[in-house]
Symmetry: D2
């Protein structure tokens, strides 16, 4: 589901409504801070787009991006 | 699942871990503020206990408590 | 601080770190749902960009956008 | 401000309203998960009570409680 675009991992998520979308975002926020790796993400109502790249590696996709992507996917499993 | 105890609606929730519990709490918080009716609630790790009563009605259970309880249940449906 | 750009109210916010940024976002999320008016917003680490427009009014800036903008500003007062 | 009661560090916090209280709780939640040390806490409207103890140390107050307490205080500095 994650696509590689311009050296970023990108995935779009759609929820039933804003409340569900923001509940998801809160869980992602906690994981991101714990892994010390933060997404660029955008939300509009029930839609969330997450972009992952590693600034410290010259904005390329690294293992840290793949680990955060996997942890996010796990939330929805 | 909600029990009436001492003029309160009380329900305990258990989640897989803290992240799931707090994601749920965030959704409940948004609903509670929207309904202008706030719980007394306690969290320890993966457990959340919610108590609902209506202060403006002399701490009795009213329709407002039943509506918030139903909205919370809906989150888990 | 809010600028009008392409029929949207836009403002950028900067915080000390991600934790402060997401704490702010949670407060905005609660207000947005309460006002039934949701932003398009983007976060990267300590930065939050909020865009407000009213879809039901043909994506123009309306009183609803100004009210949410004022409520957000109030959070930072 | 933190008191030692029954082998727990306990502090009560009061905010302007529920939105401010829950914004604070979200920041504490992120820190708690990051430190892998979770509070027992209770919220009613604008009030938050946090209790810290270390289960793995026989429910006594340890350095982990003091570190989380300090990180929480830092949020309010």
């Amino acid at each position: 589901m994650w696509k590689e675009e311009d050296n970023k991992l990108v995935r779009q998520f759609e929820f039933k409504n804003f409340v569900e979308a923001f509940g998801f975002m809160t869980k992602v926020a906690i994981l991101a801070e714990k892994m010390d790796h933060h997404p660029k993400w955008t939300n509009v109502y029930n839609q969330v787009t997450i972009e992952l790249t590693t600034h410290d590696a010259g904005n390329t996709i690294t293992e840290r991006d793949r680990e955060l992507a996997a942890a996010i996917d796990e939330l929805l499993a």
